[in-house]
Symmetry: C2
Subunit: 367 residues, 2 copies
């Protein structure tokens, strides 16, 4: 009997040791996606990219795909203010899973006490769903051969309008949500989210950044922007930093005058570029852009040129010309990309990445 107990204990101990060895092995068995200027390296575990535990939730949450892309890359931009790309490795969120995020984004009901949105109320005059999307990003550092979680960023997207129907097959109604209300609702949600994260043993001692994003309306041709973030050590929000991002679609509808001078010089550099390009090529269909500003300075541009090409040599010549025009007319020192497409197929691209001072170009060809 005694011998058996010892044997059992020994077997148990060996199993525990084997498991923990396993854990160690798996922890050291990581690599990264490699560096590129100004970007985080991403975590690869055992040859596979580590995807988010809540993968795909935000895709289903956004009717406007611009809100999806700008939320995600905007969140990374906010993270870079706190976690340097040189010292931290990026990992897709591993702590909030699909069920958790889906429940949090729902309305608060008996069945779903964790819902961050208020109960519906009257169907003819419902309470808005304020909180539209939520994303976790993990920031790791290497310690020995292991990766350790050293920081987390949570993005919360808050609606600026709420669309609803009084009857399922009736017309759509829209409630505008004021900036003050967007901010208030975002801050309420942030407090709750931070407390819930701190309740987890493994998230008690890391800085948790929470960033608030105002969603653009569903019919907007540009996504929303982050307007505040906080960097928290404890279990309640320490203080909020205001962000001054603003997005714009160019050319402006109806020649609206700009709020300030930097703006108008930027949009006139775009109009110069646009008119040069349009005169160069017969039947040019469209030159449009998304521009982002931080305060009064432009921080980047995405330009799309749509036209009909009749030969590969036209595409090549056009791309050469665009590269020269971009250098001459577009603002310097900021990342810009120009997608040259026909029938919604990309034919060529001209771009200046963040941190670079040279435009690169590439023409898509075929054998």
């Amino acid at each position: 009997m005694k011998l058996k107990k010892v044997t059992t204990l020994a077997a148990l101990m060996m199993a525990v040791m084997a498991l923990s060895a396993c854990g160690r092995n798996s922890k050291s068995n990581y690599s990264t996606t490699g560096t590129s200027a100004g970007n985080y390296q991403g975590v690869i575990k055992k040859g596979h990219y580590r995807t988010s535990k809540a993968r795909g939730v935000n895709v289903s949450q956004n009717n406007n795909q611009y809100n999806l892309k700008s939320f995600e890359s905007g969140l990374t931009t906010v993270s870079k203010r706190v976690f340097s790309t040189k010292n931290y490795i990026f990992q897709e969120g591993q702590y909030l899973d699909t069920d958790t995020v889906t429940n949090w984004l729902g309305r608060k009901t008996k069945k779903n006490p964790e819902g961050l949105n208020p109960a519906q109320g009257k169907k003819s005059n419902p309470n808005p769903e304020y909180i539209q999307q939520l994303e976790e990003q993990d920031y790791m550092t290497e310690s020995g051969s292991k990766l350790k979680l050293k920081g987390m960023t949570i993005g919360i997207g808050i609606n600026s309008e709420y669309n609803y129907k009084k009857k399922d097959d009736g017309p759509s109604y829209t409630k505008k949500i004021s900036n003050a209300e967007v901010e208030r609702q975002g801050k309420i949600a942030a407090e709750k989210v931070l407390k819930r994260l701190r309740a987890r043993k493994d998230l008690q001692n890391i800085p948790i950044v929470i960033a608030l994003y105002k969603q653009a309306p569903d019919d907007s041709l540009v996504g929303g922007t982050f307007f505040a973030y906080s960097n928290n050590k404890g279990d309640s929000i320490s203080s909020w930093h205001t962000l001054h991002y603003r997005n714009e679609v160019l050319p402006k509808a109806g020649g609206t005058t700009s709020e300030n001078q930097d703006d108008s010089s930027n949009s006139s550099s775009f109009s110069n570029f646009k008119s040069q390009v349009q005169s160069f090529f017969p039947n040019l269909s469209g030159v449009t852009a998304q521009a982002q500003y931080n305060g009064s300075s432009m921080t980047g541009m995405h330009i799309t040129i749509t036209t009909q090409f009749y030969s590969q040599s036209e595409i090549t010549s056009f791309t050469q010309y665009i590269t020269r025009a971009a250098r001459r007319y577009l603002p310097s020192g900021i990342p810009i990309d120009i997608k040259i497409q026909s029938d919604s197929n990309v034919q060529a691209v001209v771009f200046r990445n963040s941190g670079s001072d040279k435009f690169q170009s590439h023409v898509f060809d075929s054998y």
Copy 2:
């Protein structure tokens, strides 16, 4: 009376002078699209790109768009063998207009004596249309402030199969055309085209390059290739140079073994790349490529990766990884591009242009 005559003469002379000044002005009023490594500069006249006089004819002539792109860029590649990109400026064809090219590509009939294709014959067993597309490229040099035509390249695309119907609403039949016949028909057409061009006063003293292209079948996933060219001073073809280009779609269907060792080392470098990339990302849909060979050496690759992304950070991480994998696994020293797309939208591109030894990458983002 005498005075009146003199006045009329003076007025006439002034008009002539004004016109010729106009001519001079318009001739000197040109610029170019700008240089990019290894490419021709294109002609801009009075701020507008000079499009081809037969613009769009080839677009309507090709059921397989791969034949269109590969014909046009292949023709430029052949031109570079004769007209150096340093000394010559490219101009879209200005001597053959839409009507001319359309007539030449037609069948020879009473109404269209210039048709390069034979009369139809029996509808139940028609003569093939051999000549499918034709393109003119002009090569200019600067002389004083004027651009002068100093060379011309003509590409002729010959069908490798001919599709026809015995009845308008009946099934489709296909006649294969042998390589020997493709070559024979191409050379017959080349002689005729050269004589017709030399009959024009303004084309008597320039070198005219004629290049022959074998069209790929309509269902091919890669276009055809140029197989011969001649550089002519007189009004009949001097001699033909054989070209050894060959296109390939990767991965090869059913693991066909390669004709030679260079091939198999190239396609195994692609399979290594492909399997690395596919293991990295869950649910990766497809990695395919077009490769071109000159003799036994690979001269370039166009790779397309299609997958479903769930966030912008996945796209960024994937692109970093692809850049690293491309450097490690793909053949060095040749131009390569990798289009990363989801739902047929380009999300990112990784490329190494001709003459460069570094991969560049760009992720398409949105505000």
